[in-house]
Symmetry: C2
Subunit: 197 residues, 2 copies
Amino acid sequence: MTACDDRPTDPRVLRSRAKMIDAATDLLIEAGPRAVTVDAVSERSGVAKSTLYRHWDSREGLLVDVMRANVPDIDPAPDGLGFEASIRHVVTELAAMFSSPRWRGILPALMMLQQHQPELAEIAHADHQGKRQILDAVLQLGVAEGRLPADIDEELVARQLIGPIFFAVLTAHPDDDAAVDRTVEFVLERFFASYPG
Amino acid sequence: MTACDDRPTDPRVLRSRAKMIDAATDLLIEAGPRAVTVDAVSERSGVAKSTLYRHWDSREGLLVDVMRANVPDIDPAPDGLGFEASIRHVVTELAAMFSSPRWRGILPALMMLQQHQPELAEIAHADHQGKRQILDAVLQLGVAEGRLPADIDEELVARQLIGPIFFAVLTAHPDDDAAVDRTVEFVLERFFASYPG
DNA sequence: CGGAAACGATACGAAACAGTATCGTAGCGA
DNA sequence: TCGCTACGATACTGTTTCGTATCGTTTCCG
């Protein structure tokens, strides 16, 4: 008997929960958080409203789990790849994450809602930290290889690498996917130019 | 008799309009766009609901004008300042804009709402273009001074300069104002390092 | 197979919200 | 001062939305 095994294993629970989160996610992407109403989620998912309230005690709670379920993961850089290839890998991975239509549709809502909902702010912050950890590992690899100064400020470098891509995604027209690719190339080019090997 | 002088000059119109936009702005900043309801704006502003519908034909229209009224202006770089001082000026100005509590409270809402409201997307785009024009002028000054290559891609450089600041504002904790300042310094430092004079 | 738990369907209440309508009042400008 | 226009107050309709309650049915799991 394992401790803390309070995860639901009943397939009925998992099924209905997944259906509702999927429906809510679709609504969120299609028409924004305003469209994620209890009735709309119930209708779209085919799950009864009463069931929804058996899983969450309010609409807010559902929205929190919708965000949690959609925060994307990225692959950390494989071991033994070397600094330059590793950082290329991570930045490219991050750019792909930001460019994915799914996350593009959700991220702005998360950025806004987190302002007035501490629970969502935590999710956003945890996501941020998770990605930072992966990037920091690569930067430390750069230090170990003597390519980066030992006293490098990882936070500032992270902003320098991710900021332009983040900015491009939130401002560029949705059809202009090439913009992000160009930005990635430019960012990396300038990064290596300023920390020459 | 000037043509196209259809701007309302009646002080009553200007007064009530300003009151409503102010109230709506406060609500938007305090609790997000969901809180900007017709009744709430009416109550908070002290202006009757019927008057609100004399000015706008829907809640959406009001929200559009709220955004329009709050898009911040920045000072363009003064003439004769030279390239390096000019770009410092513009980037600092942009950072101050992003850091202002007012715009910090509104920008995320604009970023989100623009996804499903073309009118707001236009406002965001026009704002972006306006700032870009100011920055581009400074970059062209750099080209004229021989500090930047003539074939410089202004869009990419703009993202490089603004992206990290934008990112810092939307992710950093609201109380950490110093983070933006550090980012500005770092961005400029690296910019001048990679385009040495 | 049989009990327990989850689900579906639906109805319901209360409040919020958008938008309309009416009418008397107040303020502006000519 | 006088007419026109904007405004305030308020009531009202219809819809949306949240959240609760009930009860018969299905589904899982031991």
